[in-house]
């Protein structure tokens, strides 16, 4: 946890005014990212993961209200003009989007699209850009890259398309690569290959990576640190091993308990978290996880816990984190077969 932070996000909040009220998509996210590190952000749908990324890149629609601070390499990104942001996007920070089928332009060859990213920020000839594009495609594991570069996106499988997107993301040797659920739209078997491509990209560019997913298993193999988000707020943040071996927030515990594991008896039932995430419009006071939390008490309804340090590099937002030290997910959450009624106070 030492060294100069490359990207520092402080108390980032994003809200969208809608007809039903103000949607608080992100309610105060803070983290810092050092060069070459991989930060995982995990959470359910609607927990504000993707909005956080888009806010960092300044890609949110104009109706979004963004507050807080995003400092990158000494510059405040939230205050930059569109023109200034264009020199950062793709050059210093690049993004890999969730669905490769739609994030590639169907009318151009994949080689053209990688070359475009190169030419956007580097003063090179078309020919040089094209040959660099082929090198990049090779690097992310596209076989016969020189030939395949002339194919169109629809001629590629999802995994291959995502590799192209990764090649585009690393085209300008960026300092930060944000991977927004890069494996979610893919088959499990292909996911592993795409993760390998992503690791290769990180090794080549030595970029710091923000890896966003709801798939904790995919995250375990790649992240150095993990932030768990719930209802637009980080609820736990710790080095990867800590998250997996000693989670200190009931939500994290629940997420882990709902994963199938190789080291337990196969007959052991999975333990889902009952209920669903809250609407982020007009959140009631208190911890947003309260309605689904088996440990919820009076205090949880009244007071939203702040993220507080709990051991080395470990932050948690739970009033009763201490109690989790001796109890695992199988103890707290009911197995799938049993009554999964919402446990509320």
């Amino acid at each position: 946890m030492s060294g100069e932070a490359l990207l520092e996000v402080e108390n980032l909040t994003v809200s969208f005014p809608t007809d039903e009220g103000i949607v608080q998509a992100v309610r105060g996210v803070s983290f810092s990212l050092e060069p070459g590190r991989v930060l995982g952000i995990a959470g359910e749908s609607g927990s504000g993961k993707s909005v956080t990324t888009l806010a960092i890149m300044g890609l949110l629609p104009k109706s979004a209200r963004v507050a807080g601070s995003v400092r990158f390499d000494g510059r405040e990104l939230l205050k930059l003009s569109e023109r200034q942001l264009e020199t950062v996007r793709g050059r210093r920070i690049s993004v890999i989007f969730q669905d490769p089928m739609t994030s590639l332009n169907p009318v151009y060859t994949v080689g053209w699209q990688v070359a475009e990213a190169i030419q956007m920020h580097q003063d090179v000839s078309k020919k040089q850009a094209w040959s660099r594009a082929i090198e990049l495609l090779e690097l992310v594991g596209i076989p016969r890259a020189a030939e395949r570069a002339q194919s169109y996106p629809h001629e590629f499988s999802g995994g291959m398309q995502q590799r192209v997107v990764i090649a585009t993301a690393m085209a300008n040797d960026p300092d930060v690569i944000i991977a927004d659920e890069p494996t979610t739209a893919l088959d499990v078997t292909v996911q592993a290959q795409v993760l390998d491509a992503l690791k290769a990209a990180q090794k080549e560019t030595n970029a710091a990576v923000i890896f966003i997913t709801h798939d904790l298993a995919a995250m375990a193999g790649i992240a150095d640190e993990i932030i768990i988000m719930y209802a637009g707020k980080p609820v736990e943040s710790a080095p990867t091993d800590e998250i997996f071996y000693s989670p200190r927030m009931p939500y994290t515990v629940g997420l882990l308990a709902s994963l199938p594991r190789l080291d337990t008896d196969a007959s052991e039932p999975l333990r889902p978290i009952p209920g669903s995430p809250p609407q982020v419009i007009d959140l009631p006071p208190g911890c947003p996880f309260t309605p689904r939390c088996p440990l919820a008490r009076e205090r949880c309804h009244e007071e939203e816990p702040e993220l507080r340090p709990f051991g080395e590099g470990h932050l948690t937002a739970c009033h009763f984190a201490e109690e989790l030290e001796s109890r695992g997910g199988e103890e707290i959450f009911a197995p799938i077969a049993e009554d999964t009624e919402v446990v509320a106070g």
Partner: protein
Amino acid sequence: MAEPQRDVGATYGTAATEYAADRAVGTSVEGAPEDTAGRSQLNLAFHRFIHHRMALAGLTIFVLLVAIAFIVPHFWKWGYAEITPSFASGPSLEHPMGTDTIGHDLFAQVMQATQTSLKSAFIVTVLATVVGTVIGAIAGYYGKLADATLMRFTDLVLTVPLLALLLVLANVLSKQSSNYIYIAIIIAAVLWTYLARLVRGTFLSLREHDYVIAARAIGARDRRIIFRHMVPNAMGPIVVNATLTVANAILIESALSFLGLGIQPPAVSLGNLIANGQGSATTEWWLFAFPSAVLVLIILAVNFVGDGLRDALDPRQTRVRA
């Protein structure tokens, strides 16, 4: 035994055409073997189009008409303004479409008129398509104020009764010049609105596509996103509409000329030929019939081509290779 053999032949035939088409479109970049060059959407659309029978027939007729209208006059024995010795004579070998009451050879006149109509239709289509696309694209991409301003302006132009406006404008302009270029500009000033609306709608949906956000994420500017990333994806509706604009422009030009406000004599257009001919439709039927038939033929041919293009460019079209 004969059946499968024919199938094999057909398969090879198709493959050969596709190969040739791939080469023709020229998707290959230096040093790569041709057969791995990708099949672009344009390529696929081309194959769907050439398998669309009516569209192909329409295209053939259209090309033939264009060729006749532009090439044959150079060899034809009569000029369109030339007075021939015979007048008011019916179709004969000497005058395939007959002559009018003054003695003009109608065949020469119809060819000249078709030229005028096609040239003005071409100008209308290019102008209306470019203006409509740019305005629609800007409105659809930026939304908000730009959208509101441009689209209300478009609506305003649309609410003006087309023919009335054209009549007034054409009346003013035709006093100064009967040049078909002016007439074309007037028609284009109205027809761009349809395209602007269409392109705006297309852009509203394209704007939400991930590749547009992805293009912004690699640092592309608005102009590049609009013209390099989005317009090519909106090409289907644009091309189809442009084709139909051709037919529309010819019809409107003919209507104006018919009413005596478009192309002025001695210049000829299909419209004023029909207008001249209709008075004597019962006695000298050919004066009315031939120009009308050519007009109908052109409009039908262009519409069939438009239909074919719409089917070929429709991304929801599932039949990839016929």
